[in-house]
C-alpha cells in the first residue's frame, strides 16, 4: 500500500512541472497509448493484448545496401488472458508505468534501478512482480521496441563500461573534458552517449583504434600510442555496451574517423567485430544508430602465429563450442561472401587454436604498440 501511494505522489508532482523536453513528451505519449489500448479493449469486453515486434533471429535480416542488421516486421502477440503470457503482460505494463514515472520526475536510472522500482509482492499472493533482474531486462527491451523508444528516451541506462583516451575534447553533461589529459584510467564512456549528453568540441585524431579489453587498452595508453599516431583509443570491456557502440558510431559518422578494431583471434572476437560493424540481433532496432559498416578488422589474425613467429605455448586450443561458433559466424550473411573472412575463419579452424592480443607480449612487452599495429597501419592490412 505504502508503495502505491509513493508511486502516485511521484506522478502527481510531475504533472505540474512542465519542464519536459519534446522527446520526453513524445515518449510519454506512446506510453499513454499503451495504457489506452488496455483500457479500450477492457471496456469493449475484448481480450487485451500487446503487439511486440519480435526480437528473435527469424525477425532480423541483413540489409545489403545499408550493410547492417535490421529488424523485420514480425510481431508477437502478448495476451493478458493467456496462461503463459499473463505474467509478462502484467510486467510489460509495469515497465511502461515505471518509465513514465522516471520521465515525469526528470530522472534516469539503471535497468537494475528500474527492476527495484517495480519489484514488489503482488497483492494477496506470495508472488513477486519480478523475481530477478533477468526477468525485467528483456521486458525493458520489449517496451523499447514496442514504443520504438530508445532506452535513453525511457530514461534508462546501463552501467558504464569502456574507456576512451586521445586528442579530443568533448562536453559531457556540461563539463568540458580533454581526453588527452585523462591519466591512466581514461574517460569513462557513459552508457548514454547521445548528443544531448555528449558533444564533440575539437579533435586532431585521424582514426579510432578500438581494442577488445581494458588490459590491452592500458598497454596502448601507457605507451602513449595515441599521441604518436594521432588516434582515439577506446575499449568496450569485451562485448561493447550500447554507450561505447553509440560513441564509436558518432565518432565515425560525425567526425568521419575510420574505426579499426584490435580483437582476439577467436570466435568471440569475430562476433564483437560483427556486432560493431553490422549490429546485434537483439538490438537490431538500434542498428541505424550503432552499426558501423565501414569499420575494419585489424587483428589478431589467424596467420599471425606464423607471421609474427609466435611460440606454440601462447596458443589456446579450440574447443567444440568454439568450432561450432566459428562455423556459425562464417555463415552470417555479411561474412558469407567475403572470401578473406572465409579464409580467415578456415585458417583458425585449421590451426585448431585461438590467439589473444595479449599473446603478443611474448615477443616483447611493447611489441603490439611498436611493431604489430604500426605494421598493419602501414600495410593497410585489414579485413573488411
Amino acid at each position: 500500500m505504502a508503495k502505491k501511494t509513493a508511486r502516485r505522489k511521484v506522478s502527481k508532482t510531475e504533472e505540474k512541472n512542465g519542464k519536459l523536453s519534446a522527446k520526453d513528451r513524445k515518449t510519454l505519449k506512446s506510453i499513454g497509448g499503451l495504457a489506452e489500448g488496455v483500457n479500450k479493449a477492457a471496456f469493449r469486453g475484448r481480450d487485451p493484448h500487446l503487439e511486440i515486434p519480435s526480437r528473435s533471429l527469424s525477425n532480423v535480416r541483413y540489409n545489403k545496401t545499408k550493410r547492417f542488421i535490421e529488424m523485420g516486421r514480425g510481431k508477437n502477440r502478448r495476451e493478458l488472458f493467456n496462461l503463459s503470457q499473463a505474467k509478462s503482460y502484467m510486467q510489460t505494463v509495469l515497465v511502461g508505468n515505471g518509465c513514465r514515472q522516471l520521465i515525469n520526475a526528470g530522472k534516469t536510472t539503471s535497468i537494475r534501478g528500474l527492476y527495484y522500482l517495480l519489484k514488489h509482492t503482488i497483492e494477496g499472493t506470495r508472488e513477486e512482480t519480478f523475481d530477478e533482474q533477468k526477468d525485467c531486462d528483456p521486458i525493458i527491451e520489449d517496451v523499447e521496441v514496442m514504443l520504438s523508444a530508445l532506452r535513453e528516451e525511457l530514461h534508462l541506462y546501463a552501467k558504464n563500461a569502456g574507456a576512451m583516451v586521445g586528442p579530443i575534447t568533448l562536453v559531457d553533461s556540461g563539463d568540458e573534458i580533454d581526453c588527452s589529459r585523462m591519466g591512466s584510467g581514461g574517460y569513462s564512456i557513459p552508457s548514454i552517449a547521445e548528443p544531448e549528453v555528449v558533444q564533440f568540441k575539437r579533435h586532431t585524431a585521424k582514426f579510432v583504434l578500438h581494442v577488445e579489453k581494458d588490459t590491452v587498452w592500458r598497454r596502448f595508453n601507457e605507451d602513449k600510442f595515441w599521441q604518436e599516431h594521432d588516434c582515439i583509443l577506446t575499449h568496450g570491456g569485451g562485448q561493447p555496451p550500447r554507450g561505447v557502440r553509440r560513441l564509436l558510431h558518432r565518432l565515425h559518422h560525425e567526425l568521419k574517423l575510420p574505426v579499426y578494431c584490435l580483437l582476439d583471434n577467436d570466435p568471440w572476437g569475430y562476433y564483437i567485430y560483427s556486432v560493431i560493424k553490422q549490429g546485434s540481433i537483439n538490438l537490431a532496432y538500434e542498428s541505424k544508430r550503432m552499426a558501423i559498416p565501414a569499420a575494419r578488422y585489424m587483428g589478431m589474425r589467424s596467420k599471425d602465429y606464423e607471421r609474427c613467429g609466435l611460440s606454440s605455448s601462447v596458443t589456446i586450443g579450440l574447443n567444440d563450442n568454439d568450432v561450432k561458433r566459428a562455423k556459425q559466424i562464417a555463415g552470417y550473411p555479411w561474412f558469407a561472401n567475403k572470401k578473406a573472412w572465409q579464409k580467415e575463419i578456415d585458417l583458425m579452424l585449421q590451426n585448431g587454436f585461438k590467439l589473444e592480443v595479449e599473446a603478443l607480449i611474448n615477443k616483447g612487452i611493447s611489441y603490439v604498440t611498436q611493431e604489430y599495429v604500426p605494421a598493419r597501419l602501414d600495410d593497410r592490412d585489414f579485413l573488411d
Partner: protein, 708 residues
C-alpha cells in the same frame, strides 16, 4: 462318520444349489452332490444311523480333525473366529427380534497367550433352558436348517468357540442373558462334555443362577465378578438408559492378538461398514477403546426362506426330488417343489418335455427326467423371489462407508437381484476415494498433532497405524531415509526430527503407489482371507480402472487412495472351499460383479475428471486474477483513469474467457455439458474447501467466490 456332510445336508434340505458347475468342483459341492444323489430314503437312514453313532464319537476328536474348517487352525484365527461367531450371533439375534443392535466387544489379555473375549449385545436374550444347549452342545443351532440369507451360514456355531476355549484353557464359557427388564437374568458357566457332546453346567449346582432385576442383582453381579453392561452410554447431562435385554458371552482361550490384515480390528471395522445400523464398542487388549456409531436406526429388511428355483437344480437332484415328492402329478410336483413355477409355467415345461402335466411323479424315469431337465432350461421362468435377500442398499452403503472410511467421494451401486444356479443373489459395490491421513496432504503442524495423539511405542508403529498406504516396508524405508534408529520413540522428537521425518515421508511414499483396498463381504460378514482366490478380487482386477482415472498395471490391482467394498448377498453363498473365505466364480456372479464395479467406476471417473478440471480452472483463474490488479493499477496510473472501474471490467472479460476455455469438447468438437445430475443417485461428494484447489491465493478468495 462324517459330521461335515451332515451339516451340509441340513443346510440345504433337498437342494444342491452348488452342484458342479463344470468349471469348479470344490470339495463341498462333490460332497453335497453325493448326498443329493443318494436319495432321501437312504439319507434318512443315514441320519438315523448317524444319530446312533454320535454318542460314540468324541467331539474333541472331531474338533481336532476339523479345526481348519472351523476357523481355529491357528491361535490368531481362533481369536478372530471366536469374536466373529459371537458378534454374528448377536447381530442375527437383534435383527430377528427387531432390536437396533448395540454390541460391546472386549478382549483382555489374561495371562501368557490366553485371552478373555467378552461379547455383549442388547438382543432379545435367550430363554433359560436353551442356554446350556446353545453354548454347551456342538452343532446345536438354528440357521443350518433353512435356505435363507443369514450370517450363520459361515460359522460352525458359538459352541465350537466354547469348545476351543475349553480345550486350550480348560475354562468354561460364561453366559449372562436377560430377556426382559423385570425378569431375572440368568448366569451360566457351561462347558461341553467332550465325550458325549452334552453341556455341563458348573455353577448353581448344575442349574445356573438367576440374578434378580434391579439394584439387588447389580450388587450380586458385583460380588461374584459377573460382568454386565447395564446401561447405554448417554450424552453428558442425560440419564443413561437401561438395557432391557441382552446376552453376554465370555470365553477364555489361547490366542494371539495381532493387528492389520485378518485381524479382529479389521473384522469389526468392516462389520461396522456393512452394518450401518449397529453401534459397536470395542476395547482391545491394549485397552484402546473404539466406538463405531451407527449411521442409521433402520434395520435390514428381514430375509425370507424360499423354495429352490428350477434353474438351480441339477439333473440328478431333480430325480431325487421327484422320488421324494408327495405330489401325485407332475404339475403338482412342479408347482409345490419349486418357486416361481405356476400351473401355467408347469404346463409349458411339460409341453416342452413332451410329458403330460398329469403324469404320475412316480412313473417318471431317468429319460423323462432328463427331458424335463432340458425343458426347464428352455423355458422362460421368472427369477426367484428376491425378497429372501436383504441387500444393504445404496443409501446405507454410502452412509456406512462414509462413517468409517474417510474420503472425498463415495459411490454405491446395488445391482438388481440375479440368479446363479437358481439361487437368488445380489451384488453391491461401494467405493470411497481420497481422504485418510494422506501423506501428500500432510503438513508439519498436522504431523506434530498426530505424533502427540499417538501412543505408539515406536516410530514404525506410529507410521503404520496412523497412515493409510504406509505398510511396514515403507515405514522402514522412511525411518531409514530420515536417519532414525529402528526403535526411535515417536514421543521424543524435536522440531528438527519432525521436519526430517516429514521430508522422508513425502519423499519415500510419493514414489510408491498406494494400492486399492478391497473389502469383501458375504451376507454382511467380512471375508478376510483367501483374497486372491475370490471371484470378488478377480472382478476388481479384471475391471479396467484406467478408464476411470486410476492407474493400474495389466492384471494388477488398481492404484490410488481408493477403498472398494463388495457385498454378495445370497440365500446360499457359493464358497470355493470349506473355510468359506472366498466366493466361487460362477459366470452369473462374475457378470454382476463386473456391472456393479463398472457402475461405481464410471461415477468415480466422472468425479476425477471433474475434479481435475475444477482444479485446472481454479489455477487458470487464480493466475489471471492475481495479475489483473497490477495491470489495472499500472494502466490507470498512466492514464489517470478509474482503477476500480477498469479492474471490474477486466474481471468480466476474464470470467468470460475462462468460461469459454472451460467448456470441454468431445471427440467431435461439440461442447460437453456436465451437470451435477450426471453422477446419478447414490453418490456422496464431501465438499473440498476451494482453497485446497487454488494455488497461493489467500486474500483474493472472497473475490473469487463472488465472481465465479
Amino acid at each position: 462318520m462324517d459330521i461335515d456332510r451332515n451339516i451340509e445336508g441340513k443346510g440345504v434340505p433337498g437342494l444342491s444349489p452348488q452342484a458342479t458347475n463344470g468349471k469348479r468342483s470344490p470339495a463341498t459341492e462333490n460332497g453335497r452332490t453325493r448326498v443329493a444323489k443318494s436319495g432321501t430314503r437312504r439319507r434318512r437312514t443315514t441320519a438315523q444311523s448317524m444319530a446312533a453313532q454320535q454318542r460314540n464319537i468324541s467331539v474333541s476328536e472331531f474338533f481336532a480333525k476339523n479345526r481348519h474348517l472351523l476357523g481355529f487352525d491357528n491361535p490368531r484365527k481362533a481369536l478372530l473366529t471366536t469374536v466373529k461367531e459371537a458378534v454374528d450371533n448377536s447381530l442375527d439375534a437383534c435383527e430377528e427380534a427387531g432390536i437396533v443392535p448395540e454390541i460391546w466387544v472386549r478382549i483382555e489379555c489374561a495371562k501368557g497367550n490366553r485371552y478373555s473375549v467378552a461379547i455383549q449385545d442388547n438382543g432379545p436374550g435367550i430363554v433359560k433352558r436353551q442356554v446350556p444347549l446353545i453354548f454347551g452342545k456342538l452343532l446345536y443351532g438354528s440357521k443350518f436348517h433353512r435356505l435363507r440369507m443369514s450370517r450363520g451360514q459361515q460359522g460352525i456355531g458359538i459352541s465350537a468357540a466354547g469348545m476351543y476355549g475349553k480345550l486350550t484353557t480348560g475354562k468354561p464359557v460364561k453366559i449372562t442373558t436377560k430377556i426382559s427388564v423385570r425378569k431375572p437374568a440368568h448366569y451360566y458357566e457351561v462347558e461341553i462334555d467332550t465325550k458325549h457332546n452334552v453341556p455341563e453346567i458348573h455353577n448353581g449346582r448344575g442349574e445356573g443362577v438367576d440374578i434378580p432385576p434391579g439394584e439387588k442383582g447389580r450388587a450380586y453381579m458385583q460380588r461374584h465378578g459377573i460382568e454386565w453392561v447395564s446401561h447405554y452410554a448417554a450424552a453428558e447431562g442425560q440419564t443413561p438408559k437401561e438395557l432391557r435385554s441382552g446376552t453376554r458371552v465370555t470365553i477364555e482361550l489361547e490366542g494371539k492378538f495381532l493387528r492389520g490384515r485378518g485381524s479382529v480390528d479389521e473384522y469389526l471395522q468392516q462389520t461396522a461398514i456393512a452394518n450401518p445400523h449397529v453401534t459397536l464398542h470395542y476395547v482391545d487388549p491394549e485397552g484402546q477403546e473404539r466406538t463405531y456409531e451407527r449411521s442409521t436406526t433402520e434395520l435390514p429388511v428381514e430375509p425370507k426362506e424360499i423354495k429352490p428355483h428350477p434353474y438351480g437344480v441339477e439333473l440328478g437332484h431333480l430325480v431325487t426330488m421327484l422320488k421324494d415328492s408327495k405330489a401325485v402329478t407332475l404339475s403338482q410336483f412342479m408347482t409345490s417343489a419349486f418357486s416361481r413355477v405356476s400351473a401355467a409355467v408347469a404346463r409349458r415345461i411339460c409341453e416342452a418335455a413332451n410329458l403330460s402335466t398329469r403324469a404320475s411323479t412316480r412313473k417318471i424315469g431317468r429319460d423323462e427326467a432328463d427331458a424335463l431337465y432340458q425343458a426347464i432350461q428352455q423355458t422362460r421362468i421368472s427369477n426367484p423371489a428376491t425378497d429372501c435377500i436383504s441387500p444393504i442398499g445404496e443409501d446405507l452403503l454410502l452412509k456406512g462407508l462414509h462413517h468409517v472410511v474417510p474420503g472425498e467421494f463415495y459411490a454405491a451401486a446395488t445391482r438388481p437381484p440375479a440368479v446363479y444356479r437358481g439361487n437368488p443373489f445380489q451384488i453391491e459395490v461401494a467405493l470411497a476415494y481420497g481422504g485418510g491421513n494422506s501423506v501428500e496432504k500432510l503438513t508439519y503442524e498436522v504431523l506434530i498433532e498426530l505424533l502427540g495423539h499417538s501412543d505408539a511405542r515406536t516410530l514404525r508403529q506410529f507410521l503404520v497405524n496412523t497412515f493409510d498406504g504406509i505398510g511396514s516396508d515403507s515405514a522402514d524405508r522412511i525411518i531409514k531415509s530420515s536417519g532414525f534408529g529402528s526403535r526411535q520413540s515417536p514421543a521424543r522428537m524435536g522440531p528438527a526430527d519432525i521436519k526430517s521425518l516429514l521430508d522422508a515421508m513425502q519423499n519415500v511414499t510419493l514414489s510408491e503407489k498406494q494400492s486399492m483396498q478391497i473389502m469383501r463381504y458375504a451376507n454382511r460378514v467380512p471375508l478376510q482371507f483367501q483374497a486372491a482366490g475370490c471371484a470378488i478380487t478377480q472382478g476388481v482386477i479384471n475391471t479396467n480402472w484406467r478408464s476411470y482415472g486410476l492407474s493400474q498395471s495389466r492384471g494388477g490391482m488398481p492404484a490410488g487412495p481408493v477403498t472398494v467394498m463388495v457385498h454378495m448377498a445370497s440365500v446360499w453363498v457359493p464358497f470355493t472351499s470349506e473355510s468359506k473365505e472366498a466366493v466361487a466364480a460362477y459366470p452369473e456372479i462374475e457378470k454382476e460383479l463386473r456391472l456393479a464395479l463398472q457402475a461405481v467406476g464410471r461415477k468415480l471417473g466422472m468425479y476425477l475428471r471433474r475434479r481435475k478440471r475444477v482444479k485446472q480452472e481454479g489455477e487458470r483463474r487464480s493466475i489471471f486474477l492475481r495479475y489483473l490488479g497490477e495491470v489495472a493499477t499500472a494502466v490507470t496510473e498512466i492514464n489517470g483513469g478509474d482503477r476500480q472501474g477498469l479492474y471490474e471490467q477486466l474481471l468480466k472479460v476474464a470470467k468470460r474467457k475462462t468460461a469459454e476455455a472451460d467448456t470441454n469438447l468431445d471427440s467431435r468438437g461439440r461442447a460437453i455439458v456436465e451437470s451435477d445430475e450426471d453422477y446419478g443417485r447414490n453418490v456422496l461428494v464431501v465438499e473440498q474447501r476451494p482453497e485446497d484447489l487454488l494455488v497461493g491465493l489467500a486474500k483474493t478468495d472472497d473475490e473469487q467466490k463472488q465472481l465465479f
